[in-house]
């Protein structure tokens, strides 16, 4: 069982986001980066499948500049066997078809049984790379996976539908599955894992020269037409004003 996991490095949920003066992207130097949340779950699912089967290989595949080797090392420390780094600048890049084509170039060189990806990235959030890759490689695909069962030659996936509905979908391998957050409990790297990760291979490859099919024109702060009444003061004053708002404005008492 050979599983590729696509892992992206994204700004942490509390990272500062400073828009560049040309409004084309954010200041990457100011960002505190982490592993994309749903990718972390996808990685854990792949590691658990390998451990349950007692055989196989988990390969991390990531795209981005040199800085992303931090999350690649983290994934290796958690137990991935090796990594492939498609090294390229991604400032202002938003086209998922282009991203998918970079991954396909690399993935087609190896015979993966499964390609796992997180449902969507917490930065650009296009939410389609894993499905695009599966389709471009003529594989079966499924999104929003919240449970997986791998058997000989096929995988069963419990998919999340809307409003509390679910569905089991079965497909032959190879398949590309996008993973929803929350389906397992991602591990932390062990000290031994961190030490061992230093010896694991990170193969660096070049991107292709395809062109973007969608472009970012500008990034800006949200414009809201809603007037928010801000309640300010010391904690005691805020408590008092909140209760007054509950009583006299929202009228819940």
């Amino acid at each position: 069982m050979k599983i590729a996991v696509l892992v992206k490095q994204v700004p942490g949920s509390e990272s500062p986001l400073i828009i560049n003066s040309d409004h084309k992207w954010v200041d990457e130097g100011a960002i505190a980066y982490v592993m994309n949340e749903s990718d972390n779950y996808a990685l854990e699912e792949a590691l658990q499948i390998r451990e349950t089967k007692g055989e196989g290989e988990v390969v991390v595949v990531s795209l981005g500049p040199v800085r992303i080797q931090k999350v690649i090392r983290e994934a290796l420390a958690k137990g991935a066997d090796r990594a492939i780094h498609i090294q390229m600048d991604t400032v202002g890049e938003v086209d998922p078809l282009l991203t998918a084509s970079h991954f396909v170039n690399v993935l087609k060189e190896e015979n993966f049984d499964l390609i796992f990806s997180g449902l969507q990235s917490d930065d650009v959030g296009m939410g389609q790379t894993g499905i695009l890759i599966g389709e471009l490689m003529d594989m079966a695909t499924a999104s929003l996976a919240i449970k997986t069962e791998v058997e000989d030659g096929y995988i069963k996936v419990k998919r999340e539908l809307e409003a509390g509905w679910f569905q089991w979908v079965k497909m032959s391998l190879p398949a590309s599955i996008s993973i929803q957050s929350g389906l397992n409990t991602p591990r932390y790297p062990s000290l031994k894992g961190i030490m061992g990760a230093k010896k694991k291979e990170i193969k660096v490859v070049e991107p292709n020269s395809n062109k973007s099919k969608q472009s970012l024109e500008k990034v800006y702060l949200p414009q809201s037409d809603k007037q928010t009444v801000m309640i300010e003061g010391t904690v005691d004053q805020m408590v008092e004003k909140l209760i007054d708002t509950f009583r006299n404005d929202i009228k819940i008492f």
């Binding site: 959030g125 389609q128 695009l132 594989m139 569905q167 979908v169 099919k213 969608q214 990034v219 929202i250």
Partner: protein, 320 residues
């Protein structure tokens, strides 16, 4: 110039987000001077076509094929691809539903045409549509344009357009034939099922206290529960709290949980990810308490408090 709208089936009725896409399409068509076609598929296509024909559209395209009776990503993607090739639209609009997230990227890959997803607005500049999408977990907005020749695939976020603005009319219904073959469908699907939500119906609640990641740890959940009890409110949560196992999934509000519209929605330490906001934007009064003044939740809040919930909430409960 033609715009096609893909309408999703929701048990024999047009999915709410499909109606919202018709509104988006009507707006785009009036600004870009285009024709409008709506596409319905699947076992309820007849009923959906009749419903769609009552809106201001040029035509409703009905696609029936036994392989589309039950949803499959491959079947739907292939069918939509063939319709696009026949109709040659400039834009194909979708609601950004879970089903669309599952199959529409495959249409994009089959046609090698861009799919601009989850947009909250569209504006026309110099005869060209520019789409607005939230990024970085809704903390920033971005304007995105498709490159090259169409068709362009576009999806809109839930509630980006209000179906109250739907223009009525009378459209003709035409049948379209497509060529599907069972070998194209690589998955076998079991029937969808509903999982017991644990008996907690938040949709009927008048007051909701909802807790997010900002509560810090499972041991702090009682702080929110105590406030809910003091207010006579139901306790709800955002997805990360459920994912972490701090509350059962029955408490979850958002696209994968319940959609609520109480008199007051009090959000404690919830940053306001898109997936959460679509489930609570309809609340009559939204009060947000968060220590991050830039949290996106403040954009939808009627009342905002920048404070640490762990410090403020126990005092608030005590004062009630």
């Amino acid at each position: 110039m033609k715009i096609l709208i893909m309408l999703e089936d929701n048990n024999g009725k047009i999915h709410r987000m499909g109606l919202e896409s018709i509104v988006a399409a009507q707006k785009m068509a009036s600004e870009l001077n285009g024709e409008l076609g709506a596409v319905v598929m699947g076992k309820n296509a007849d009923a959906l076509a009749d419903e769609a024909a009552s809106y201001k559209l040029d035509e409703v395209i009905k696609v029936k094929d036994s392989l589309l009776d039950n949803y499959s990503a491959d079947g739907y993607a292939e069918a939509v691809k063939q319709i696009i090739e026949k109709e040659n639209p400039s834009y194909v609009l979708f609601g950004h539903s879970y089903q669309v997230r599952d199959y529409a990227p495959k249409v994009s890959a089959k046609l090698m045409q861009p799919f601009l997803v989850d947009n909250v607005a569209v504006k026309v500049e110099n005869g060209k549509a520019v789409f607005t999408k939230q990024m970085f977990n809704a903390k920033l907005f971005s304007d995105i344009v498709p490159n090259g020749e169409g068709p362009y695939l576009i999806s809109f976020q839930s509630a980006a357009f209000s179906s109250d603005a739907l223009e009525r009319g009378s459209a003709s219904i035409i049948d379209a034939n497509i060529d599907l073959d069972s070998s194209m469908i690589k998955t076998e699907s079991e029937p969808p099922f509903k999982e017991e939500a644990g008996g907690l119906d938040l949709t009927a609640a008048d007051l909701i206290v909802s807790v997010g990641r900002g509560i810090g740890k499972e041991e702090n959940i009682p702080i929110a529960q105590d406030l809910a009890t003091a207010l006579g409110a139901e306790l709800a949560s955002s997805r990360p709290v459920v994912d972490a196992g701090w509350l059962p999934s029955a408490h979850q509000v958002g696209s994968s949980g319940q959609s609520v519209s109480p008199k007051m929605y009090l959000a404690l330490g919830i940053s306001g990810a898109i997936q959460h906001m679509v489930g609570m934007k309809g609340s009559k009064n939204i009060v947000a308490i968060n220590k991050d003044p830039d949290a996106p939740i403040f954009e939808v809040a009627d009342y905002g408090v920048v404070a640490d919930v762990l410090e403020l909430v126990p005092k608030l409960t005590e004062a009630l």
